[in-house]
């Protein structure tokens, strides 16, 4: 499903992706790691955390899922994603990815859309912020 075209206007919001993250999801994602703050309650407590925290790359994947749905195959051929991790995600949290088109830039005969993207918790607190871009037809 590709939504993005060169006719889209700046300010267009991207359809969000919503994920509930369980401890089992976190363990499965970290399956090749040793016991650590992502997979083990004791390790998380020793590090001063209230619970194991999800790997940041899980949020990276959620954003990429939203961007794949929005840009289609152009996302995986020329897409860029740059994000900063500013908060953590705990088991049971629900994360929603969001994005908005901020700029349209000509690249030769093609158009690149530059977007602001982020992940937020149910309370609206941002856990990841960044930018993404891809070409559109």
């Amino acid at each position: 499903m590709t939504i993005a075209t060169k006719n889209l206007e700046v300010g267009q919001e991207l359809p969000p992706v919503r994920k509930e993250i369980s401890f089992e999801d976190m363990r499965l994602f970290s399956m090749w790691s040793n016991l650590n703050i992502h997979t083990d309650w004791e390790s998380a407590k020793k590090a001063g955390l209230p619970a194991p925290i999800a790997q940041g790359l899980m949020s990276h994947a959620y954003l990429s899922e939203m961007l794949t749905q929005f840009f289609g195959k152009n996302w995986l051929q020329g897409g860029t994603l740059s994000i900063k991790f500013i908060g953590y995600t705990l088991p049971g949290d629900v994360i929603t990815t969001r994005g908005i088109v901020r700029e349209k830039v000509s690249e030769g005969s093609e158009t690149r859309l530059n977007c602001e993207v982020w992940c937020e918790s149910l309370s609206g607190e941002k856990t990841v912020v960044g930018t993404a871009s891809a070409l559109v037809n």
Binding site: K19, L28, W32, M58, H60, E65, Q77, G79, S82, I83
Partner: protein
């Protein structure tokens, strides 16, 4: 990534890392089983990763490759406290057909200090067996020098000799674990 290293190399120390330093080259083949586990963990149902994609058959789900810089680094260094992942920058160049071998080359691109903490910037380029570029991915990782310093001071870690004076203030530096 299903390559998690078990190395006996030196403990990673911010001051010891050099810009331009190359990590061991890795070979990777992502199979259906690995991919299935990641798709389940992330609740991703896009058929591109399991059946058909615009490029033909299923393609590799990129989260299997996203941590390539850390993976390669952990093939050289011990990092007992894990990385604090601060920033991730990814350029998607081409999809990788599922099951097609790829190689990963990794280099330290930069290092910097922010609010008294050291960060290293590690970049991996993933290329398939035919030389087609797949993905360039870059991590900014905070090195927890305070925890390394404390553990070294207690004699719990062996750190590189050139940093021993700095890190072994309270102990011998011998690995007693």
């Amino acid at each position: 990534m299903p390559l998690r290293a078990k190395v006996e190399g030196p403990v990673m120390v911010f001051e010891e890392m050099e810009v331009g330093e190359e990590m061991p080259e890795l070979q990777v083949v992502c199979d259906e089983d690995m991919q299935g586990r990641f798709l389940a963990a992330l609740k991703e149902e896009n058929p591109w990763y399991s059946r058909e994609s615009p490029w033909g058959g299923p393609i590799t789900y990129h989260p299997l490759l996203d941590d390539a810089p850390m993976e390669a680094t952990m093939h050289r260094y011990q990092y007992p406290f894990g990385f604090v992942h601060a920033v991730q920058e990814t350029e998607f160049i081409n999809p990788l057909p599922l099951g097609k071998p790829a190689r990963i080359t990794t280099k330290v691109m930069d290092k910097y200090e922010k609010r008294g903490r050291g960060y290293i910037v590690i970049e991996s380029l993933i290329v398939d067996e035919d030389g087609v570029e797949i993905m360039r991915t870059r991590n900014h990782a905070m090195i927890e020098d305070e925890r390394v310093r404390k553990a070294a001071g207690l004699g719990l870690l062996h750190v590189p000799p050139s940093s021993a004076a700095k890190y072994n203030r309270g102990g011998t530096g011998e690995d007693k674990s």
